[in-house]
Subunit: 289 residues, 2 copies
Protein backbone atom coordinates (compact mmCIF):
# COMPACT_ATOMS: atom_id res chain seq x y z
CA UNK A 1 0.00 0.00 0.00
CA UNK A 2 1.04 3.56 -0.65
CA UNK A 3 2.34 5.78 2.14
CA UNK A 4 1.01 9.24 2.79
CA UNK A 5 2.63 12.02 4.78
CA UNK A 6 0.04 13.65 7.06
CA UNK A 7 0.17 16.97 8.86
CA UNK A 8 -2.26 18.31 11.41
CA UNK A 9 -1.17 21.92 11.63
CA UNK A 10 -2.41 23.55 14.81
CA UNK A 11 -1.72 26.87 16.46
CA UNK A 12 0.27 25.35 19.32
CA UNK A 13 1.50 22.06 17.86
CA UNK A 14 1.92 20.18 14.60
CA UNK A 15 1.08 16.49 14.61
CA UNK A 16 2.89 14.52 11.91
CA UNK A 17 2.03 11.05 10.75
CA UNK A 18 2.64 8.43 8.11
CA UNK A 19 -0.29 6.26 7.11
CA UNK A 20 -1.62 4.09 4.30
CA UNK A 21 -5.01 4.32 2.60
CA UNK A 22 -6.41 1.66 4.97
CA UNK A 23 -5.83 4.14 7.83
CA UNK A 24 -2.97 2.27 9.44
CA UNK A 25 -0.82 4.94 11.07
CA UNK A 26 2.78 3.67 10.90
CA UNK A 27 4.46 6.57 12.66
CA UNK A 28 3.43 9.64 14.55
CA UNK A 29 5.28 12.61 15.94
CA UNK A 30 4.48 15.95 17.55
CA UNK A 31 6.38 19.23 17.32
CA UNK A 32 5.66 22.68 18.74
CA UNK A 33 4.39 25.46 16.47
CA UNK A 34 7.06 28.18 16.51
CA UNK A 35 7.94 30.00 13.28
CA UNK A 36 6.94 28.72 9.83
CA UNK A 37 10.57 28.22 8.83
CA UNK A 38 11.46 26.23 11.91
CA UNK A 39 8.23 24.23 12.23
CA UNK A 40 7.89 23.32 8.56
CA UNK A 41 11.63 22.57 8.35
CA UNK A 42 11.42 20.27 11.37
CA UNK A 43 8.40 18.52 9.85
CA UNK A 44 10.20 17.90 6.55
CA UNK A 45 13.26 16.62 8.43
CA UNK A 46 11.17 14.18 10.48
CA UNK A 47 9.49 12.73 7.39
CA UNK A 48 12.95 12.33 5.77
CA UNK A 49 14.29 10.62 8.91
CA UNK A 50 11.42 8.17 8.65
CA UNK A 51 12.49 7.36 5.09
CA UNK A 52 9.14 8.48 3.75
CA UNK A 53 8.64 8.33 0.00
CA UNK A 54 5.09 9.63 -0.08
CA UNK A 55 2.41 9.05 -2.68
CA UNK A 56 1.10 12.45 -1.61
CA UNK A 57 0.98 14.71 1.41
CA UNK A 58 -2.16 15.86 3.23
CA UNK A 59 -2.35 18.96 5.39
CA UNK A 60 -5.26 19.76 7.72
CA UNK A 61 -4.42 23.20 9.03
CA UNK A 62 -5.66 26.00 11.22
CA UNK A 63 -7.04 28.79 9.06
CA UNK A 64 -7.79 30.93 7.32
CA UNK A 65 -6.23 29.41 4.21
CA UNK A 66 -6.13 30.48 0.58
CA UNK A 67 -7.75 27.48 -1.14
CA UNK A 68 -8.07 28.97 -4.62
CA UNK A 69 -6.02 26.66 -6.82
CA UNK A 70 -5.67 29.44 -9.40
CA UNK A 71 -4.20 31.83 -6.84
CA UNK A 72 -0.42 32.37 -6.61
CA UNK A 73 -0.82 32.14 -2.84
CA UNK A 74 -2.75 28.85 -2.80
CA UNK A 75 -2.00 26.99 0.42
CA UNK A 76 -0.84 30.12 2.20
CA UNK A 77 -2.28 31.60 5.40
CA UNK A 78 -3.45 35.03 4.21
CA UNK A 79 -3.72 36.62 7.65
CA UNK A 80 -3.75 35.43 11.23
CA UNK A 81 -3.35 37.02 14.65
CA UNK A 82 -0.72 34.30 15.28
CA UNK A 83 2.74 35.95 15.20
CA UNK A 84 5.02 34.99 12.25
CA UNK A 85 2.34 33.02 10.35
CA UNK A 86 0.68 35.70 8.22
CA UNK A 87 1.64 34.88 4.64
CA UNK A 88 3.12 31.48 5.55
CA UNK A 89 3.26 29.01 2.65
CA UNK A 90 2.34 25.60 4.05
CA UNK A 91 2.54 23.69 0.78
CA UNK A 92 5.79 24.53 -1.00
CA UNK A 93 8.24 23.17 1.62
CA UNK A 94 6.61 19.72 1.37
CA UNK A 95 5.99 19.77 -2.38
CA UNK A 96 9.66 20.65 -2.96
CA UNK A 97 11.14 18.24 -0.44
CA UNK A 98 9.14 15.23 -1.63
CA UNK A 99 8.21 16.14 -5.20
CA UNK A 100 4.67 14.89 -4.77
CA UNK A 101 1.11 16.27 -4.78
CA UNK A 102 -0.02 18.12 -1.67
CA UNK A 103 -3.65 18.40 -0.55
CA UNK A 104 -4.59 21.10 1.93
CA UNK A 105 -7.73 22.30 3.63
CA UNK A 106 -8.73 23.44 7.09
CA UNK A 107 -8.51 21.14 10.10
CA UNK A 108 -12.27 21.37 10.51
CA UNK A 109 -12.91 20.44 6.87
CA UNK A 110 -10.56 17.49 7.36
CA UNK A 111 -12.48 16.48 10.47
CA UNK A 112 -15.81 16.82 8.65
CA UNK A 113 -14.61 14.65 5.78
CA UNK A 114 -13.07 11.98 8.00
CA UNK A 115 -16.19 11.78 10.21
CA UNK A 116 -18.28 11.56 7.03
CA UNK A 117 -16.16 8.76 5.54
CA UNK A 118 -15.19 6.77 8.60
CA UNK A 119 -17.07 8.06 11.64
CA UNK A 120 -20.43 9.52 12.60
CA UNK A 121 -21.42 10.03 8.96
CA UNK A 122 -21.14 6.44 7.73
CA UNK A 123 -24.39 5.61 5.94
CA UNK A 124 -25.62 9.20 5.87
CA UNK A 125 -26.04 11.56 2.95
CA UNK A 126 -24.50 14.62 4.58
CA UNK A 127 -22.69 15.76 7.69
CA UNK A 128 -21.96 19.05 9.41
CA UNK A 129 -18.97 19.08 11.74
CA UNK A 130 -18.75 21.93 14.24
CA UNK A 131 -15.86 22.42 16.59
CA UNK A 132 -16.57 24.65 19.57
CA UNK A 133 -13.42 25.37 21.52
CA UNK A 134 -10.93 28.24 21.57
CA UNK A 135 -12.61 29.27 18.33
CA UNK A 136 -15.58 27.94 16.39
CA UNK A 137 -15.34 26.38 12.95
CA UNK A 138 -17.50 24.24 10.75
CA UNK A 139 -17.29 22.01 7.70
CA UNK A 140 -20.09 20.46 5.67
CA UNK A 141 -19.98 17.39 3.42
CA UNK A 142 -22.84 16.37 1.14
CA UNK A 143 -22.59 13.30 -1.09
CA UNK A 144 -18.85 13.18 -0.42
CA UNK A 145 -18.17 16.78 -1.43
CA UNK A 146 -16.94 19.45 0.97
CA UNK A 147 -18.81 22.76 0.84
CA UNK A 148 -16.58 25.50 -0.55
CA UNK A 149 -17.34 28.89 -1.99
CA UNK A 150 -14.54 31.38 -2.61
CA UNK A 151 -12.85 29.65 0.32
CA UNK A 152 -13.54 27.31 3.23
CA UNK A 153 -16.48 28.17 5.50
CA UNK A 154 -16.05 30.50 8.47
CA UNK A 155 -19.10 29.18 10.31
CA UNK A 156 -18.08 30.63 13.65
CA UNK A 157 -18.86 34.06 12.26
CA UNK A 158 -22.58 33.66 11.59
CA UNK A 159 -24.78 36.18 13.38
CA UNK A 160 -27.08 35.08 16.20
CA UNK A 161 -29.73 36.67 18.43
CA UNK A 162 -28.74 37.54 21.99
CA UNK A 163 -30.07 35.59 24.94
CA UNK A 164 -32.42 37.72 27.10
CA UNK A 165 -30.17 37.16 30.14
CA UNK A 166 -26.97 37.86 28.23
CA UNK A 167 -27.42 41.36 26.85
CA UNK A 168 -24.30 43.13 28.09
CA UNK A 169 -21.19 41.14 27.16
CA UNK A 170 -19.90 42.72 23.94
CA UNK A 171 -18.51 39.48 22.50
CA UNK A 172 -14.85 38.69 21.94
CA UNK A 173 -14.56 38.42 18.15
CA UNK A 174 -12.09 41.10 17.03
CA UNK A 175 -13.93 41.36 13.71
CA UNK A 176 -17.59 40.95 14.64
CA UNK A 177 -18.01 41.34 18.40
CA UNK A 178 -21.00 39.19 19.25
CA UNK A 179 -21.07 36.72 16.38
CA UNK A 180 -21.49 32.99 17.25
CA UNK A 181 -17.78 32.58 18.04
CA UNK A 182 -17.69 35.92 19.83
CA UNK A 183 -20.38 34.73 22.25
CA UNK A 184 -19.83 30.99 22.57
CA UNK A 185 -16.14 30.07 22.10
CA UNK A 186 -14.02 29.30 25.17
CA UNK A 187 -12.62 32.85 25.59
CA UNK A 188 -16.16 34.31 25.47
CA UNK A 189 -17.25 31.95 28.25
CA UNK A 190 -14.20 32.87 30.34
CA UNK A 191 -14.76 36.54 29.49
CA UNK A 192 -18.21 36.50 31.09
CA UNK A 193 -17.92 33.96 33.90
CA UNK A 194 -14.17 33.81 34.54
CA UNK A 195 -14.17 30.02 34.19
CA UNK A 196 -14.62 27.34 31.58
CA UNK A 197 -18.12 25.91 31.26
CA UNK A 198 -17.07 22.57 32.74
CA UNK A 199 -15.68 24.38 35.82
CA UNK A 200 -18.97 26.17 36.49
CA UNK A 201 -21.49 24.38 38.76
CA UNK A 202 -24.17 22.32 37.05
CA UNK A 203 -26.91 24.77 38.04
CA UNK A 204 -25.04 27.84 36.76
CA UNK A 205 -27.15 29.70 34.14
CA UNK A 206 -24.17 29.70 31.74
CA UNK A 207 -24.98 26.11 30.73
CA UNK A 208 -28.48 26.99 29.57
CA UNK A 209 -27.33 30.20 27.89
CA UNK A 210 -24.52 28.53 25.90
CA UNK A 211 -26.82 25.63 24.92
CA UNK A 212 -29.45 28.18 23.80
CA UNK A 213 -26.88 29.81 21.50
CA UNK A 214 -25.56 26.55 20.08
CA UNK A 215 -29.12 25.30 19.51
CA UNK A 216 -29.91 28.52 17.70
CA UNK A 217 -26.84 28.14 15.48
CA UNK A 218 -27.85 24.55 14.76
CA UNK A 219 -31.24 25.89 13.61
CA UNK A 220 -29.54 28.30 11.21
CA UNK A 221 -27.31 25.52 9.84
CA UNK A 222 -30.35 23.27 9.40
CA UNK A 223 -32.08 26.06 7.49
CA UNK A 224 -29.13 26.45 5.16
CA UNK A 225 -27.99 22.86 4.75
CA UNK A 226 -30.42 20.35 6.29
CA UNK A 227 -27.54 18.05 7.35
CA UNK A 228 -28.28 14.38 8.00
CA UNK A 229 -25.77 14.40 10.86
CA UNK A 230 -24.48 17.26 13.01
CA UNK A 231 -21.28 16.37 14.86
CA UNK A 232 -20.35 18.64 17.77
CA UNK A 233 -16.70 18.52 18.79
CA UNK A 234 -14.18 20.79 20.51
CA UNK A 235 -13.25 21.60 24.10
CA UNK A 236 -16.47 23.39 25.08
CA UNK A 237 -18.48 20.35 24.00
CA UNK A 238 -16.61 18.21 26.54
CA UNK A 239 -18.74 19.87 29.24
CA UNK A 240 -20.82 17.07 30.81
CA UNK A 241 -24.49 17.31 29.88
CA UNK A 242 -24.02 20.06 27.30
CA UNK A 243 -24.87 17.98 24.23
CA UNK A 244 -28.22 16.98 25.80
CA UNK A 245 -29.03 20.64 26.50
CA UNK A 246 -28.11 21.53 22.91
CA UNK A 247 -30.38 18.79 21.53
CA UNK A 248 -33.28 20.22 23.55
CA UNK A 249 -32.52 23.77 22.56
CA UNK A 250 -32.16 22.97 18.87
CA UNK A 251 -35.41 21.01 18.92
CA UNK A 252 -37.17 24.08 20.26
CA UNK A 253 -35.65 26.41 17.69
CA UNK A 254 -36.44 24.09 14.76
CA UNK A 255 -40.02 23.52 15.93
CA UNK A 256 -40.39 20.48 13.70
CA UNK A 257 -39.73 22.39 10.51
CA UNK A 258 -36.60 20.81 9.08
CA UNK A 259 -35.72 17.40 7.75
CA UNK A 260 -33.67 15.80 10.49
CA UNK A 261 -34.74 15.83 14.15
CA UNK A 262 -32.09 17.61 16.26
CA UNK A 263 -32.67 15.09 19.07
CA UNK A 264 -31.40 12.36 16.73
CA UNK A 265 -28.97 13.97 14.35
CA UNK A 266 -26.81 15.87 16.87
CA UNK A 267 -24.02 13.49 17.84
CA UNK A 268 -20.52 13.38 19.29
CA UNK A 269 -17.46 12.78 17.11
CA UNK A 270 -16.61 9.10 16.66
CA UNK A 271 -12.96 9.35 15.66
CA UNK A 272 -10.73 9.78 18.67
CA UNK A 273 -7.13 10.78 19.17
CA UNK A 274 -6.22 10.31 15.54
CA UNK A 275 -9.01 12.57 14.23
CA UNK A 276 -6.58 15.26 13.10
CA UNK A 277 -4.32 12.90 11.13
CA UNK A 278 -7.32 11.04 9.72
CA UNK A 279 -8.64 14.44 8.59
CA UNK A 280 -5.42 15.03 6.67
CA UNK A 281 -5.69 11.50 5.22
CA UNK A 282 -9.30 12.07 4.16
CA UNK A 283 -8.26 15.29 2.40
CA UNK A 284 -5.42 13.66 0.50
CA UNK A 285 -7.47 10.60 -0.52
CA UNK A 286 -10.32 12.90 -1.57
CA UNK A 287 -7.98 14.87 -3.81
CA UNK A 288 -6.79 11.68 -5.46
CA UNK A 289 -10.42 10.82 -6.19
CA UNK B 1 -32.48 19.92 -31.02
CA UNK B 2 -34.40 18.12 -28.31
CA UNK B 3 -37.51 19.60 -26.79
CA UNK B 4 -38.05 19.92 -23.06
CA UNK B 5 -41.31 20.45 -21.22
CA UNK B 6 -40.84 23.09 -18.52
CA UNK B 7 -43.01 23.90 -15.56
CA UNK B 8 -42.67 26.81 -13.17
CA UNK B 9 -45.05 25.75 -10.41
CA UNK B 10 -46.09 28.71 -8.28
CA UNK B 11 -48.65 29.15 -5.55
CA UNK B 12 -50.95 31.30 -7.68
CA UNK B 13 -50.02 30.28 -11.23
CA UNK B 14 -48.22 27.61 -13.20
CA UNK B 15 -46.12 28.81 -16.15
CA UNK B 16 -45.63 26.14 -18.82
CA UNK B 17 -43.10 26.24 -21.60
CA UNK B 18 -41.42 24.25 -24.31
CA UNK B 19 -37.75 24.96 -24.98
CA UNK B 20 -34.62 23.44 -26.44
CA UNK B 21 -31.21 23.18 -24.81
CA UNK B 22 -30.11 26.44 -26.48
CA UNK B 23 -32.76 28.22 -24.41
CA UNK B 24 -35.11 28.98 -27.29
CA UNK B 25 -38.60 29.02 -25.78
CA UNK B 26 -40.94 27.79 -28.52
CA UNK B 27 -44.21 28.05 -26.62
CA UNK B 28 -45.37 29.43 -23.31
CA UNK B 29 -48.63 29.28 -21.43
CA UNK B 30 -49.97 30.27 -18.04
CA UNK B 31 -52.66 28.58 -15.95
CA UNK B 32 -54.04 29.34 -12.47
CA UNK B 33 -53.06 27.15 -9.52
CA UNK B 34 -56.28 25.55 -8.27
CA UNK B 35 -56.25 21.89 -7.15
CA UNK B 36 -53.42 19.49 -8.00
CA UNK B 37 -55.73 17.30 -10.09
CA UNK B 38 -57.06 20.19 -12.15
CA UNK B 39 -53.83 22.17 -12.49
CA UNK B 40 -51.56 19.22 -13.29
CA UNK B 41 -54.22 17.79 -15.65
CA UNK B 42 -54.52 21.09 -17.50
CA UNK B 43 -50.73 21.28 -17.77
CA UNK B 44 -50.47 17.79 -19.26
CA UNK B 45 -53.30 18.59 -21.70
CA UNK B 46 -51.58 21.79 -22.86
CA UNK B 47 -48.29 19.99 -23.53
CA UNK B 48 -50.24 17.32 -25.48
CA UNK B 49 -52.05 20.00 -27.50
CA UNK B 50 -48.66 21.43 -28.43
CA UNK B 51 -47.66 18.02 -29.78
CA UNK B 52 -44.76 17.85 -27.33
CA UNK B 53 -42.64 14.70 -27.38
CA UNK B 54 -40.23 15.70 -24.65
CA UNK B 55 -36.69 14.53 -24.09
CA UNK B 56 -37.39 15.20 -20.42
CA UNK B 57 -39.50 17.44 -18.21
CA UNK B 58 -38.19 19.99 -15.71
CA UNK B 59 -40.19 21.30 -12.78
CA UNK B 60 -39.18 24.31 -10.67
CA UNK B 61 -41.75 24.39 -7.92
CA UNK B 62 -42.79 26.18 -4.79
CA UNK B 63 -41.80 24.12 -1.75
CA UNK B 64 -41.23 22.35 0.42
CA UNK B 65 -40.52 19.31 -1.75
CA UNK B 66 -39.41 15.79 -0.98
CA UNK B 67 -36.18 15.56 -3.00
CA UNK B 68 -34.95 12.22 -1.68
CA UNK B 69 -34.73 9.98 -4.74
CA UNK B 70 -34.95 6.91 -2.52
CA UNK B 71 -38.20 8.10 -0.93
CA UNK B 72 -41.57 6.72 -2.12
CA UNK B 73 -42.83 10.33 -2.01
CA UNK B 74 -40.00 11.84 -4.06
CA UNK B 75 -41.35 14.87 -5.95
CA UNK B 76 -44.28 15.30 -3.59
CA UNK B 77 -45.10 18.38 -1.50
CA UNK B 78 -44.91 16.97 2.05
CA UNK B 79 -46.85 19.80 3.73
CA UNK B 80 -47.96 23.28 2.82
CA UNK B 81 -50.40 25.82 4.19
CA UNK B 82 -51.79 25.99 0.63
CA UNK B 83 -55.19 24.22 0.56
CA UNK B 84 -55.33 20.94 -1.45
CA UNK B 85 -51.59 20.72 -2.08
CA UNK B 86 -50.30 18.83 0.96
CA UNK B 87 -49.18 15.44 -0.35
CA UNK B 88 -49.50 16.48 -4.00
CA UNK B 89 -47.39 14.39 -6.39
CA UNK B 90 -45.94 16.79 -8.96
CA UNK B 91 -43.93 14.23 -10.91
CA UNK B 92 -46.08 11.19 -11.68
CA UNK B 93 -48.71 12.91 -13.88
CA UNK B 94 -45.95 14.11 -16.24
CA UNK B 95 -43.83 10.97 -16.08
CA UNK B 96 -46.88 8.84 -16.93
CA UNK B 97 -48.27 11.08 -19.66
CA UNK B 98 -44.96 11.48 -21.50
CA UNK B 99 -42.98 8.42 -20.42
CA UNK B 100 -39.82 10.47 -19.96
CA UNK B 101 -37.46 11.48 -17.12
CA UNK B 102 -38.63 14.28 -14.85
CA UNK B 103 -36.30 16.60 -12.95
CA UNK B 104 -37.66 18.56 -10.02
CA UNK B 105 -36.32 21.01 -7.47
CA UNK B 106 -37.47 24.23 -5.86
CA UNK B 107 -38.11 27.37 -7.90
CA UNK B 108 -35.33 29.12 -6.01
CA UNK B 109 -32.84 26.31 -6.69
CA UNK B 110 -33.85 26.55 -10.36
CA UNK B 111 -33.28 30.30 -10.29
CA UNK B 112 -29.91 29.84 -8.58
CA UNK B 113 -28.77 27.31 -11.18
CA UNK B 114 -29.99 29.33 -14.16
CA UNK B 115 -28.37 32.54 -12.88
CA UNK B 116 -25.17 30.55 -12.27
CA UNK B 117 -25.16 29.05 -15.77
CA UNK B 118 -26.54 31.88 -17.86
CA UNK B 119 -26.87 35.03 -15.75
CA UNK B 120 -25.13 36.82 -12.91
CA UNK B 121 -22.90 33.83 -12.18
CA UNK B 122 -21.22 33.44 -15.55
CA UNK B 123 -17.47 33.26 -14.94
CA UNK B 124 -17.79 32.85 -11.17
CA UNK B 125 -17.06 29.85 -8.98
CA UNK B 126 -20.21 30.03 -6.87
CA UNK B 127 -23.49 31.87 -6.52
CA UNK B 128 -26.09 32.37 -3.82
CA UNK B 129 -29.57 33.31 -5.03
CA UNK B 130 -31.94 34.81 -2.48
CA UNK B 131 -35.52 35.70 -3.23
CA UNK B 132 -37.11 38.13 -0.79
CA UNK B 133 -40.80 38.52 -1.47
CA UNK B 134 -43.94 36.95 0.00
CA UNK B 135 -41.54 34.46 1.53
CA UNK B 136 -37.76 34.15 1.58
CA UNK B 137 -35.84 31.33 -0.05
CA UNK B 138 -32.30 30.68 -1.11
CA UNK B 139 -30.27 28.38 -3.33
CA UNK B 140 -26.49 27.98 -3.54
CA UNK B 141 -24.42 26.63 -6.43
CA UNK B 142 -20.70 25.90 -6.17
CA UNK B 143 -18.72 24.53 -9.11
CA UNK B 144 -22.02 23.74 -10.86
CA UNK B 145 -23.50 21.73 -7.98
CA UNK B 146 -26.58 22.81 -6.03
CA UNK B 147 -26.28 22.65 -2.24
CA UNK B 148 -28.51 19.91 -0.83
CA UNK B 149 -28.56 18.16 2.51
CA UNK B 150 -31.49 15.95 3.44
CA UNK B 151 -33.51 18.31 1.27
CA UNK B 152 -33.35 21.72 -0.41
CA UNK B 153 -32.29 24.68 1.76
CA UNK B 154 -34.86 26.66 3.76
CA UNK B 155 -32.70 29.75 4.00
CA UNK B 156 -35.56 32.03 4.99
CA UNK B 157 -35.60 30.30 8.35
CA UNK B 158 -32.14 31.22 9.61
CA UNK B 159 -32.10 33.09 12.91
CA UNK B 160 -31.07 36.73 13.07
CA UNK B 161 -30.52 39.37 15.74
CA UNK B 162 -33.23 42.00 16.23
CA UNK B 163 -32.71 45.61 15.19
CA UNK B 164 -32.57 47.94 18.22
CA UNK B 165 -35.54 49.93 16.84
CA UNK B 166 -37.54 46.84 15.99
CA UNK B 167 -37.91 44.98 19.25
CA UNK B 168 -41.68 44.50 19.52
CA UNK B 169 -43.02 42.94 16.32
CA UNK B 170 -43.23 39.19 17.03
CA UNK B 171 -42.49 38.11 13.45
CA UNK B 172 -44.91 36.40 11.11
CA UNK B 173 -43.38 32.95 10.59
CA UNK B 174 -45.89 30.40 11.86
CA UNK B 175 -43.02 28.06 12.76
CA UNK B 176 -40.32 30.38 14.04
CA UNK B 177 -41.79 33.81 14.74
CA UNK B 178 -38.92 36.21 14.17
CA UNK B 179 -36.65 34.23 11.88
CA UNK B 180 -35.28 36.02 8.76
CA UNK B 181 -38.47 35.41 6.78
CA UNK B 182 -40.62 36.22 9.80
CA UNK B 183 -39.05 39.68 10.02
CA UNK B 184 -38.21 40.62 6.44
CA UNK B 185 -40.65 39.01 3.96
CA UNK B 186 -43.45 41.13 2.48
CA UNK B 187 -46.10 40.15 5.04
CA UNK B 188 -43.75 41.07 7.91
CA UNK B 189 -43.18 44.51 6.38
CA UNK B 190 -46.94 45.02 5.94
CA UNK B 191 -47.50 43.61 9.45
CA UNK B 192 -45.41 46.37 10.98
CA UNK B 193 -45.91 49.35 8.71
CA UNK B 194 -49.16 48.54 6.94
CA UNK B 195 -47.57 49.09 3.52
CA UNK B 196 -45.04 47.52 1.22
CA UNK B 197 -41.51 48.89 1.47
CA UNK B 198 -41.75 50.59 -1.92
CA UNK B 199 -44.92 52.41 -0.79
CA UNK B 200 -43.23 53.86 2.28
CA UNK B 201 -41.52 57.26 1.89
CA UNK B 202 -37.81 57.23 1.17
CA UNK B 203 -36.95 58.61 4.62
CA UNK B 204 -39.07 56.04 6.48
CA UNK B 205 -36.92 54.08 8.96
CA UNK B 206 -38.27 50.79 7.56
CA UNK B 207 -35.80 51.01 4.67
CA UNK B 208 -32.77 51.11 6.95
CA UNK B 209 -34.18 48.43 9.26
CA UNK B 210 -34.94 45.97 6.45
CA UNK B 211 -31.55 46.63 4.83
CA UNK B 212 -29.89 46.04 8.22
CA UNK B 213 -31.56 42.63 8.47
CA UNK B 214 -30.77 41.59 4.90
CA UNK B 215 -27.16 42.73 5.33
CA UNK B 216 -26.94 40.68 8.51
CA UNK B 217 -28.31 37.60 6.71
CA UNK B 218 -25.78 38.16 3.91
CA UNK B 219 -23.04 38.13 6.58
CA UNK B 220 -24.27 34.77 7.87
CA UNK B 221 -24.41 33.33 4.34
CA UNK B 222 -20.90 34.61 3.66
CA UNK B 223 -19.71 32.92 6.86
CA UNK B 224 -21.23 29.60 5.81
CA UNK B 225 -20.59 29.61 2.07
CA UNK B 226 -18.36 32.50 0.96
CA UNK B 227 -20.28 32.89 -2.34
CA UNK B 228 -18.55 34.60 -5.26
CA UNK B 229 -21.88 36.20 -6.25
CA UNK B 230 -24.97 36.96 -4.17
CA UNK B 231 -28.05 37.62 -6.32
CA UNK B 232 -30.95 39.33 -4.57
CA UNK B 233 -34.34 38.88 -6.26
CA UNK B 234 -38.01 38.94 -5.28
CA UNK B 235 -40.65 41.62 -4.82
CA UNK B 236 -39.16 43.32 -1.76
CA UNK B 237 -35.87 43.81 -3.65
CA UNK B 238 -37.70 45.87 -6.27
CA UNK B 239 -37.81 48.71 -3.74
CA UNK B 240 -35.75 51.54 -5.27
CA UNK B 241 -32.46 52.07 -3.46
CA UNK B 242 -32.74 48.95 -1.30
CA UNK B 243 -29.90 47.00 -2.91
CA UNK B 244 -27.50 49.90 -2.27
CA UNK B 245 -28.54 50.01 1.40
CA UNK B 246 -28.05 46.24 1.64
CA UNK B 247 -24.54 46.50 0.15
CA UNK B 248 -23.64 49.10 2.79
CA UNK B 249 -25.18 47.11 5.60
CA UNK B 250 -23.51 43.85 4.57
CA UNK B 251 -20.14 45.59 4.25
CA UNK B 252 -20.50 46.77 7.83
CA UNK B 253 -21.48 43.34 9.16
CA UNK B 254 -18.65 41.54 7.30
CA UNK B 255 -16.04 44.09 8.43
CA UNK B 256 -13.58 42.92 5.79
CA UNK B 257 -13.45 39.38 7.08
CA UNK B 258 -14.74 37.26 4.21
CA UNK B 259 -13.57 36.51 0.72
CA UNK B 260 -15.85 38.55 -1.51
CA UNK B 261 -16.58 42.23 -0.87
CA UNK B 262 -20.36 42.70 -0.35
CA UNK B 263 -20.19 46.01 -2.24
CA UNK B 264 -19.12 44.07 -5.34
CA UNK B 265 -20.66 40.64 -5.07
CA UNK B 266 -24.26 41.63 -4.22
CA UNK B 267 -26.04 42.00 -7.57
CA UNK B 268 -29.49 41.98 -9.15
CA UNK B 269 -30.77 38.99 -11.14
CA UNK B 270 -29.86 39.11 -14.83
CA UNK B 271 -32.46 36.76 -16.26
CA UNK B 272 -35.78 38.51 -16.75
CA UNK B 273 -39.32 37.34 -17.42
CA UNK B 274 -38.25 33.84 -18.39
CA UNK B 275 -36.28 33.23 -15.20
CA UNK B 276 -38.77 30.65 -13.91
CA UNK B 277 -38.82 28.59 -17.10
CA UNK B 278 -35.06 28.90 -17.47
CA UNK B 279 -34.79 27.62 -13.90
CA UNK B 280 -36.77 24.52 -14.90
CA UNK B 281 -34.56 24.14 -17.98
CA UNK B 282 -31.38 24.44 -15.90
CA UNK B 283 -32.66 21.73 -13.56
CA UNK B 284 -33.50 19.33 -16.37
CA UNK B 285 -30.22 19.90 -18.23
CA UNK B 286 -28.32 19.51 -14.95
CA UNK B 287 -29.97 16.15 -14.32
CA UNK B 288 -28.98 14.96 -17.78
CA UNK B 289 -25.36 15.88 -16.95
Amino acid sequence: MADYGLIEAGGTKFVLGIADEARNIHARHQIPTTTPQETLGTAVAWFKDQGLIPEAIGIASFGPLDLDRASPTWGHIPRTPKPHWTGADLVTPFAKAFDCPVAIDTDVNGAALSEYRWGAGVGYQSLLYLTIGTGIGGGFVSGGTLLHGLSHPEMGHIRIARHPQDQNYPGCCPFHGDCFEGLVAGPAIKGRWDASLSDLPEDHPAHAIIAWYIGQAVCTFQAVMEPARIVLGGGVMHTPGLIELVRESATGWANGYFNGDPAEIIVEPVLGDNAGLLGALALVLDEEG
